[in-house]
Structure formats: structure tokens, C-alpha cells
């Protein structure tokens, strides 16, 4: 993401997102929120508390399952914390015109408020998540 543009209140033309899975759901986060992608062992060694998306957002009856988990070190204002995600595998540049707001009936659901948009991408849908709105920091 073009931080200069964002900080001056201007909307960027593109954002860069890291895509990953959480319990089978494809998500993307603005790389500007990520300070590092870490192995879980390294995160433990550093004594970082690890948070899980499913602790803050309900996944219903879905089973907690990770295939290739990593910890994302998230910058959130003056603080930082880690969030565990699965298969962080791709950094994608998204033109902002490709981003759609969540459909209105979903946007009205309190449980999904950390999702701020969605993108139709490679025959699928990526949900864009804002970790700073999950209430961890």
C-alpha cells in the first residue's frame, strides 16, 4: 500500500495484499499491517503471544485446522502482536477498482466487521481482513 498517499488522506490506486487461508477461508491483508512473517517456533521463542482469527470471529461449526501455519507479526498503532494464519503464499497487487465492499446484508453483521471488502480472484473470492479491527491490540 502506498503509505504516503494513505497518510495524507488520499486514496491509493492499488494495494498490496498477502493472501492466506484461515480454516479453509481465503483471506488477504494489506501488507502495510504486517511487520514480519514468522515460523511458529520462532514466535514462541520470542515469547510473543499468538492470536487466532477464530478466537475473535466465529467460524461456526468449522473444525480448527492448520496445514502450514505461520505467524504474522501485525503492526497496530504503537503496539504489535502475532496472528496465526495458514498457507501465507502470495503477495498480490490489487487495483482498488477490483475491490468490492461486502454485500450490504453481510456488512450489517457485527461478527464480520473485521472484513472490509472482497475481491473476485482466480475463480475464487478473497475476503480482505483488517487485523486492527479484530480487537486484539
Amino acid at each position: 500500500m502506498n503509505s504516503q498517499a494513505a497518510h495524507h488522506g488520499r486514496c491509493p490506486e492499488v494495494i498490496q495484499v498477502l493472501t492466506f487461508d484461515v480454516m479453509g477461508v481465503k483471506m488477504g491483508v494489506d501488507t502495510e499491517q504486517i511487520a514480519a512473517v514468522m515460523d511458529l517456533d520462532d514466535t514462541k521463542k520470542q515469547g510473543q503471544a499468538m492470536h487466532h482469527v477464530y478466537e475473535k470471529i466465529s467460524f461456526g461449526p468449522r473444525k480448527v485446522d492448520y496445514g502450514a501455519p505461520k505467524a504474522l507479526l501485525i503492526r497496530d498503532g504503537g503496539t504489535s502482536y502475532t496472528v496465526v494464519v495458514d498457507h501465507p503464499d502470495d503477495i498480490t497487487v490489487l487495483p482498488i477498482q477490483s475491490i468490492q465492499p461486502l454485500p450490504p446484508l453481510l456488512a450489517s453483521q457485527r461478527g464480520s466487521c473485521a472484513f472490509w471488502g472482497a475481491v473476485a480472484h482466480k475463480n475464487g473470492i478473497i475476503l480482505l481482513i483488517d487485523f486492527t479491527k479484530m480487537g486484539i491490540g
Binding site: 461486502l102 454485500p103 466487521c113 473476485a120 475476503l127
Partner: protein, 175 residues
């Protein structure tokens, strides 16, 4: 029977004229009777309908992408030619038993009051125009969870069809 005074019409003429007059009046009534389009669909072997003016498209069942945190009756979102739309499981929303058969449903894409969403139904039975006068208020025996969202009822092919009010359904979810 004989005719009365000269020039007076005979009985058969009078009868046929009366028949024609009544037929004409009847046809005028038919033409003027206001009709409304409905989309009839099935949920768990019962027939329901939406007003056709709110149904933009009928889609085949497609991949529904789960959205964490959404209400139980919103199974996720679909990609309709690049547009991302929510999907409502109307059975769950109304508290109606769900159909066991998987993969046989349809998605009705509905739009009203600036809100739009797909609505998962078991099958689309028919799209037809019905006289407005044939729509009656909902019967009291409907469950409260359903009655709140019912616009009316009508009989079609000897079956009761319950018209659901999409505006009320969307309004309740968007609250």
C-alpha cells in the same frame, strides 16, 4: 311462443343478446383485473413465492464462499460474473426444516430498497401472473417466525402458495 307486438324482439334474440352482453361485460372485467408476477419456489415440499418484480435473476447453485462471523442463515458469498453477492439460506432464516438433498437448489437474486442478495431455494417451480384479487391475507395457522414475513397467500393448482415479503426479510437482516 309467439312474439308480442310487431317489431318486438323474439325471445331467442333477447336471450342471445343478453348472453353477448354478459360475455362482453365479463371479458371487460377480465381485462381490467390487475395481475402481478410471482416466482413460485419450493422449500421442504411446501410452495412459496416472491413477487417477480424483486427477482432479478435465477442462478444455478454455485460455489458459496463462507464468510466467518456471518449469521447462521448467511452461508456466504457468491461470484456472479465478477459481482460479489451475499446468499441467504431462507430455510434457516424462517426456521423451516432444510432439504437433505445437496446440490439441487437454485439461487434467486433479489433486489429491493437498495439491498440485494441471493436467496437459496430448493427449486423454482413456476413464474406466472396471478390476479391481485386472488391473493388473500395469511392464515393464522402459519408459524409466527414465518408469518412475520408473509405478504399473502394464493391457491395455485390446488396448492397453497405463501408469498414472502423480500423487503421485510432484507430489512430484518439489515437491522
Amino acid at each position: 311462443m309467439e312474439n308480442g307486438a310487431a317489431g318486438e324482439k323474439n325471445k331467442s334474440d333477447l336471450i342471445i343478446e343478453e348472453i353477448m352482453r354478459r360475455k362482453e361485460n365479463g371479458s371487460i372485467v377480465d381485462v381490467e383485473e390487475k395481475k402481478v408476477k410471482v416466482v413460485i419456489f419450493s422449500l421442504c415440499d411446501d410452495s412459496y413465492a416472491f413477487y417477480g418484480e424483486y427477482i432479478k435473476e435465477i442462478l444455478p447453485l454455485m460455489t458459496i464462499y463462507y464468510v466467518p462471523g456471518a449469521a447462521e442463515f448467511i452461508p456466504g458469498v457468491i461470484n456472479v460474473r465478477g459481482e460479489i453477492e451475499s446468499v441467504i439460506n431462507i430455510n434457516r432464516f424462517l426456521g423451516i426444516q432444510e432439504t437433505v438433498e445437496a446440490g439441487s437448489g437454485r439461487i434467486a437474486l433479489a433486489v429491493t430498497n437498495g439491498l440485494r442478495s441471493g436467496i437459496l431455494v430448493d427449486s423454482i417451480e413456476e413464474v406466472l401472473d396471478i390476479p391481485v384479487g386472488s391473493i388473500k391475507p395469511p392464515i393464522d395457522t402459519l408459524s409466527k417466525s414465518v408469518r412475520e414475513f408473509v405478504a399473502g397467500e394464493f391457491i395455485h393448482q390446488d396448492k397453497l402458495v405463501t408469498i414472502l415479503d423480500i423487503g421485510k426479510i432484507f430489512g430484518k437482516i439489515a437491522l
